[in-house]
């Protein structure tokens, strides 16, 4: 088991990067959310050796393994659009399904067909 103080420190590192990302987004007015910028900042910090990957390992794995859970509150918001979804369910569902499969096929096949 990891000592609780270590976990608190790791969480603090994540929150620090989050704030840095939000700050960059605010200052540059980029149309990219702070969390994505923070992800890139974390990657840069690891690559430039400002941060060792062991320093955030446990918390990073915990967050990655439970990502699905963190989505649920937003997903329940589906209930607010019941009327519109009922009215336009056909174009919406066909467009979503076909377009999603096309994206999967385009990206998947371009990467998979790589000559070694």
């Amino acid at each position: 088991m990891v000592c609780i103080m270590v976990l608190i420190k790791q969480v603090a590192i994540f929150l620090g990067f989050w704030f840095a990302g939000e700050l960059v987004a605010y200052l540059t007015q980029l149309p990219v959310p702070g969390s994505i910028l923070a992800m890139l900042l974390l990657l840069a910090a690891l690559e430039l050796k400002f941060l060792k990957s062991e320093d955030i390992k446990q918390t990073a794995n915990f967050l990655l393994n439970n990502m699905a859970l963190f989505f649920i509150p937003a997903g329940v918001g589906l209930m607010c659009h019941y009327k519109l979804l009922k009215q336009e369910w056909l174009p919406i569902s066909v467009a979503i399904v076909v377009s999603a499969l096309l994206v999967l096929a385009v990206v998947g096949l371009i990467i998979e067909r790589r000559k070694k």
């Binding site: 959310p33 990657l43 174009p91 066909v94 990206v107 371009i110």
Partner: protein
């Protein structure tokens, strides 16, 4: 009684319990239809409707859960770091695939929904469907869509990708962790990535990369593409 049920304590613990139960069900029966995210969302909607609780209350009560969405997106930077060499060695192809994927997603969803008679607000809100929620909200706002509707679409795509993505990719012969991760990340953002994260760290790393690249590329390209599409069709 109803007031007692409408509290952070009840909403958070119920969400956690249902999610754990749904995960156990999926482990036991191994059916992709028993997707824990979808099951939990449906059970919670049923609970809120039967207790007459507005979504606004649930959203506030469970903010302690959704708070961790951003940190988990940031954690993808850690997953990426572990595969940086592999990414660098193949960066051109990855970029080509991601740009093609992003344009395919934007144009195809617009044209299909247009052909089937969706309203203009729906069309524009559909465009950022494959993008991770925080980016999708920004893109939708910028193009004149309805952000909360976009969030609903983002979730639908994510759940669809999480349930059917892997089997579809297998069907068309896409098997490498790299191609599976990148395409699911590009198509179904964090939900797609989450659906393969248990298969190994390489899957989640490329899922994260696919999601990040698709998010940034769509944020940059969608406003222009949509302007062009709206000009052509309206």
């Amino acid at each position: 009684m109803m007031e007692l049920l409408n509290s952070p304590l009840v909403h958070v613990s119920l969400t956690l319990l249902v999610f754990i139960g749904a995960k156990k069900l999926q482990l036991r029966y191994r059916s992709p239809l028993l997707n824990p995210i979808l099951l939990t969302i449906l059970v919670m909607i049923a609970f809120l409707l039967s207790t007459n609780t507005p979504y606004r209350d649930y959203k506030e009560n469970t903010s302690i859960i959704s708070f961790w969405l951003a940190p988990s997106v940031i954690a993808l930077g850690y997953a990426l770091y572990n595969f940086l060499e592999e990414i660098k060695s193949d960066f051109k192809r990855i970029l080509l695939a991601m740009i093609s994927g992003s344009i395919t997603g934007i144009v195809s969803v617009f044209l299909l929904a247009y052909a089937l008679g969706a309203s203009k607000a729906t069309l524009v809100s559909l465009v950022p469907k494959s993008v991770t929620t925080p980016i999708a909200i920004e893109v939708s706002k910028e193009m004149g869509g309805i952000p909360s509707l976009t969030v609903a679409f983002v979730i639908v795509v994510g759940v669809f990708g999480a349930i059917f993505g892997q089997s579809f990719l297998k069907l068309i012969g896409v098997k490498k962790p790299k191609s599976v991760g990148l395409s699911l990340g590009a198509c179904a953002h964090a939900l797609g990535t989450a659906s393969i994260s248990e298969k190994g760290p390489d899957y989640s790393a490329f899922g994260g990369l696919g999601m990040a690249l698709n998010g940034v590329l769509t944020a940059v390209m969608a406003p222009w593409l949509v302007k062009l599409l709206l000009f052509l069709f309206f």
